[in-house]
């Protein structure tokens, strides 16, 4: 008697296929820890690239990720050595020019120790150039004025790509709190951004995180981070500021030794691009310009800072009575979470489009901050969600009682056909 699958009896061939797939599938095994770690690294990198909160994701942190895995997994110790175990070496290796000899983790450590001013080093760990997800080194450095974590991560970006540009452009202040940020062009054509910010976007602990992101014209990417604590998270503040000045950070990122290590990394030409796929986003519409065009005319001053991504955009509006941050996500193929997002209370329009509205205290907001949201999904899974705060940034206190746009206006914007043209 064939077993049934969802009420339909399987043919004998299907039944055997199913059993054999199971048997064959079960013979595959990988280093799961390495897979998970590398996946989380990609997630963090994705967040870093966005440098903003998504309305839906609700993540406003400028998550730290050193390239190539200067990744400290909070609460799970710094197990980068074991987590970084090779996940398999790519077969897609460029053969035109042989890669230079690999740079070992120990060499990475020696390089960093040599480049730092005199001091004591502890809690040192590193990965070499041929280990996935990429070379990095981290240690605790004490120049006599307090222990501080420092890390260097190395990787590659596509030269001239959005990723390359985005890596060295200072983020908009709407979503990232920082004291200073500047981008400098070096004589060799490299761009280096130094950002002096905070580990926690809501500043619940004032751990300072300063970083330098350097990208060369060839796409070599060096990421240096330092904190005024002995660990990224969960360690008490040990000094007023991280040990290296902005200029020192810039110089450290520019050291030639890092580029040699990057050149020694195996070429991997068959990796899926990190951008959200067409199946996750609406395509290539730029969100902020459409949002701008849908605003009620002539009433608002609109920020320049607007996001530049095809699935998410935002504007800060000011009608003279205080700032309002408006954020929009446009997503395709969201049917699978429709039930979760649109409960039984959702309004259903004549064409089947569902509309849900929420007016709630802002999750991350300061005093008096509220978030108004209109969420819409069409029958084919295309979703537009627009949210608005009565403050200019997610963590700020309210600047006004109600946000600038009414719920009716938000609804009209969300339901506009312009998002899908």
């Amino acid at each position: 008697m064939p077993f049934e699958q969802h009420g339909n009896p399987l043919e004998p061939f299907e039944e055997r296929l199913s059993a054999d797939l199971r048997q064959a599938g079960d013979t595959f095994d990988a280093d799961r820890v390495a897979l998970v770690t590398a996946g989380e690294l990609r997630g963090r990198r994705r967040l870093l690239l966005r440098r903003r909160a998504a309305v839906v994701g609700g993540v406003a942190s400028l998550a730290l990720v050193g390239v190539g895995g200067a990744l400290l997994l909070p609460g799970r110790g710094s197990s980068a050595h074991q987590d970084g175990a090779s996940v398999g070496t790519s077969r897609h290796t460029a053969t035109a020019t042989p890669a230079p000899s690999p740079v070992s983790g120990d060499q990475m450590i020696r390089t960093l120790e040599k480049l730092l001013p005199k001091g004591n080093f502890s809690k040192v760990e590193a990965r070499g150039s041929d280990e996935r997800p990429g070379p990095y080194v981290q240690l605790v450095y004490d120049d006599g004025k307090g222990a501080a974590a420092i890390s260097v991560g190395l990787g590659r970006v596509e030269p001239g790509s959005d990723e390359a540009r985005g890596t060295t452009e200072c983020p908009g202040k709407v979503f990232v709190h920082y004291d200073a940020c500047s981008t400098t062009r070096l004589p060799d054509g490299s761009a280096v951004m130094v950002l002096q910010g905070y580990e926690y976007p809501d500043r619940r602990v004032d751990t300072k995180w300063w970083s330098a992101e350097l990208v060369t014209p060839e796409g070599q990417h060096v990421s240096v981070s330092e904190w005024n604590a002995a660990a990224e998270k969960g360690a008490p503040i040990s000094r007023a500021e991280p040990p290296l000045s902005a200029a020192q950070l810039r110089k450290l990122a520019g050291a030639g030794a890092w580029r040699d290590a990057i050149d020694a990394m195996p070429q991997d030409t068959n990796r899926p691009a990190p951008q959200p796929s067409a199946s996750e986003t609406a395509g290539s519409v730029a969100i902020a310009p459409i949002l701008k065009s849908l605003l009620p005319k002539g009433v608002f001053k609109v920020s320049d800072d607007s996001g530049d991504d095809s699935a998410f955009g935002y504007l800060v509006l000011d009608d003279g009575k205080g700032k309002s941050l408006v954020q929009v996500n446009v997503q395709a193929n969201m049917s699978d979470v429709e039930g979760d997002l649109f409960g039984s209370g959702a309004e259903v329009l004549a064409d089947g489009t569902k509309v849900a509205t929420h007016q709630v205290p802002s999750e991350k907001g300061g005093a008096g901050a509220v978030m108004w949201t209109v969420d819409t999904i069409r029958t084919d899974g295309r979703r537009v969600v627009i949210s608005e705060l009565n403050s200019g940034a997610p963590h700020d206190d309210a600047t006004r009682e109600a946000p600038a746009l009414t719920m009716k206006q938000l609804r009209e914007i969300a339901l506009s056909p312009k998002w899908w043209r």
Binding site: S18, R32, G57
Partner: protein, 168 residues
């Protein structure tokens, strides 16, 4: 990501990694390097939207869907026309079930990517036609057609007596 949520994500990822990887190996017809890449990319996407994902009824199923779409997107990028994979399956590391695995993977490798996705969802994931259609963002009718076509091709490649033929 807040600590509690980060821990929840880490636990989920640790539990699901093995199954996702095995699914990816079947989807890629044994290209374990690509499978690792797909799983990492899947985890990256789940990490970014974990807050939302953790609230859906079946995060594990959702993760599989993300993997499937990541795979299909990868295939789209690779080639504008649908075609069977040109990568031969990797040799098994330990020799377990080698004849079965090789035979089956070679047959899977000869299917177009979308047909392979249908087979994996239907017969490895045990999903219904409707659920498969939803995961692939296709109509039920299209999935049914693909399924019939893929089964026909596999029958051709493996013989009607698949079990007998494939097992050592």
């Amino acid at each position: 990501m807040r600590q509690a949520r980060a821990d929840e994500y880490a636990e989920f990822a640790a539990v699901r990694a093995g199954h996702l990887y095995r699914s990816a190996c079947l989807l890629t017809a044994g290209d374990t390097h690509l499978a690792e890449d797909l799983v990492q990319e899947t985890f990256g996407r789940l990490y970014v939207s974990w807050r939302r994902v953790s609230r859906v009824e079946n995060p594990a199923g959702y993760a599989q869907t993300v993997l499937m779409r990541t795979f299909l997107t990868h295939q789209r990028r690779r080639s504008s026309t649908e075609r069977a994979t040109d990568v031969l399956p990797d040799m098994p590391a330990d020799g377990r079930d080698m004849p079965l695995r090789l035979t089956l993977l070679e047959a899977l490798a000869r299917l177009p990517a979308k047909d392979r996705a249908v087979v994996v969802l239907r017969y490895w994931e045990d999903r219904s036609i409707e659920e498969t259609a939803q995961a692939m963002n296709a109509s039920s009718a299209a999935v049914r057609t693909r399924c019939v076509r893929a089964l026909g091709r596999l029958r051709e490649l493996l013989g009607e007596d698949l079990g007998e033929y494939a097992r050592p």
